[in-house]
């Protein structure tokens, strides 16, 4: 017994002798101004663009404006706890969200935290929220269709896996309905293929990003998807109207990161951004509070770059890179059918019109083919609808 104790004491002694005092090197700054979800921080000379900042009180910030004397950061959390003079630290990490199949069937917020009271999200992989879209070499042509389940669309204006297709129209014209129907249709196809044991079938997983919507609307959509049994193949990223503008601004990027994981893992995913008009408004708010120069309709100059870099992340990658794909269905809401307004002026659109919707509601689509511009009409279409 004595020998064992002596050995133990010796071991502890050796460990103490070998232990070194560690010095942590940090880059710190001090909050000079805080409000409206934005903090201006003095110092932080080593801060990177889009780097996560530790604001204390378990609150994270994101460095967006790097200026000569200060850093403008958006706050991801309850900014009312922060005070002028609080210390801020750089973390050396870019903003990341959990990704993977563990998120399927879950409702999460912008940071990938669960909102559905189903326990923590099972994921050990994280992807950066901001990522450069796949380049030309990695991409391959869009050839496989996404079956929306709406005959009018699948026959006349088919969507390919890896494509991005804007759905644009006034309020209450059925933009979200098309997307929800597509998610349900995909879930049915996935289930049928699973039941039939079809190994060649590539399931399409769906990500629905709700930006600036009413909580009741999001709850309704979740109920519809649950009733249709589509949730096991779907991730919902919710950033409702009550969420801060910073969270609304980041939500589509977080959703895109989740979709990219499927693409990088050789799987197919579909992402729906509902809607980008509200996203642009959230970005405008963040930019104005950050005192960035504003342009037309007070939107910052890079509002087009904001959406183009988001939608460019939708791609079909070549076989050498896993043959995965990410299809994007962004939604834009117009005012009184004005498609030439500032934000709606984007290419490749499927236009929604109320009168058309009423007339052809039997086929559940209000697309006006004559006014739509499409990139892959025949290439992705299956033989049967073409005939």
């Amino acid at each position: 017994m004595r020998e064992i104790m002596a050995d133990l004491l010796k071991e502890i002694e050796e460990q103490i002798a070998g232990a070194k005092a560690t010095t942590i090197r940090q880059n710190v700054g001090v909050i000079r101004e805080v409000g409206d979800g934005v903090a201006r921080v003095e110092g932080l000379s080593d801060a990177m663009l889009n780097e996560m900042l530790d604001l204390g009180h378990c609150i994270t910030g994101l460095a967006l404006n790097l200026e000569e004397t200060e850093v403008g950061a958006i706050i991801l959390g309850d900014f009312t706890q922060l005070e002028e003079g609080d210390e801020v630290r750089t973390t050396g990490k870019l903003l990341q969200v959990p990704v993977g199949k563990g998120l399927l069937g879950r409702v999460v917020n912008t940071l990938g935290e669960p909102l559905d009271e189903k326990g923590p999200v099972e994921s050990d992989v994280a992807y950066p929220v901001e990522k450069i879209a796949p380049g030309i070499i990695r991409r391959s042509p869009v050839r496989q269709p996404v079956q929306t389940g709406i005959m009018a669309i699948d026959a006349m204006i088919p969507i390919g896996r890896g494509q991005r297709e804007l759905i644009i129209g006034d309020r209450s014209t059925g933009k979200t309905t098309i997307c929800i129907d597509t998610i349900i249709s995909q879930a049915r196809l996935n289930r049928a293929a699973e039941a039939a044991g079809d190994k060649d079938y590539r399931p399409l997983y769906c990500i629905y990003v709700a930006i600036g919507q009413k909580q009741s609307n999001v709850a309704r959509i979740i109920t519809i998807l649950e009733q249709a049994g589509a949730m096991p193949y779907t991730i919902i990223v919710a950033s409702p109207a009550s969420d801060s503008a910073t969270n609304q601004y980041l939500a589509p990027f977080a959703g895109a990161a989740m979709g990219e994981w499927f693409m990088d893992s050789g799987m197919d995913a579909l992402i729906i951004f509902d809607d980008l008009s509200k996203h642009a408004v959230a970005y405008r708010q963040v930019s104005l509070v950050l005192k960035r120069p504003s342009g037309r309709e007070a939107y910052p100059g890079d509002v087009f770059y904001l959406h183009s870099r988001l939608l460019e992340r939708a791609a079909r990658v070549g076989e050498k890179y896993g043959n995965g794909s990410l299809t994007a269905l962004p939604i834009i809401e117009t005012q009184a059918g004005d498609v030439s307004a500032y934000i709606p002026t984007t290419s490749s659109q499927s236009r929604m019109d109320r009168s058309i919707w009423k007339r052809i509601c039997s086929i559940r689509a209000s697309d006006r083919p004559s006014r739509s511009a499409f990139r892959y009409p025949v290439l992705v279409q299956r033989r049967s609808p073409r005939r």
Partner: protein, 145 residues
């Protein structure tokens, strides 16, 4: 008071004029401030405020604040200063202070760089590793708390 682009540009020009051989010259800084106050041209206060901010940051970049739980002996102070001059170049002004909240070890801040080897920081790191949030949720390392 809103700092306009013009005010910032003017303050930066004045700030650049205050450098002699790559170092901020105190006499020139005083001359600039005196001249601006004397001239009282339009928006001179905004320019001076931004100028003050730039000078403050430059001073912070060349000032080391060294805190320890007990006052360091002179020999150790000289060694710390020599080490800092090796890392940041000569001309570092050192301010040695006593902060019992650190419990032990030393905390050095030069500009926005912090080298924290205090017992307090180790405890905070340990706290974070265990996922414990302090009762008041405050940052214990913040000076003056």
């Amino acid at each position: 008071m809103k700092t306009t682009k013009e005010a910032k540009r003017e303050a930066k020009q004045l700030y650049r004029l205050c450098f002699v051989n790559g170092k901020l010259d105190q006499a020139r800084v005083r001359q600039v401030v005196g001249g601006m106050i004397h001239s009282r041209h339009r928006g001179y206060l905004t320019v001076l405020r931004y100028f003050q901010q730039l000078v403050k940051l430059e001073c912070a970049r060349h000032t080391a604040t060294i805190d320890s739980a007990v006052m360091l002996p002179t020999g150790l102070q000289n060694r710390v200063l020599a080490g800092l001059e090796r890392a940041y170049g000569p001309g570092i002004a050192a301010i040695f202070g006593r902060n019992p909240a650190l419990i032990g070890g030393i905390r050095i801040q030069v500009g926005s760089d912090v080298f924290d080897g205090s017992v307090r920081s180790e405890l905070i790191a340990l706290e974070k590793r265990f996922g414990i949030v302090s009762a008041n949720g405050r940052n214990a390392n913040r000076p003056g708390r």
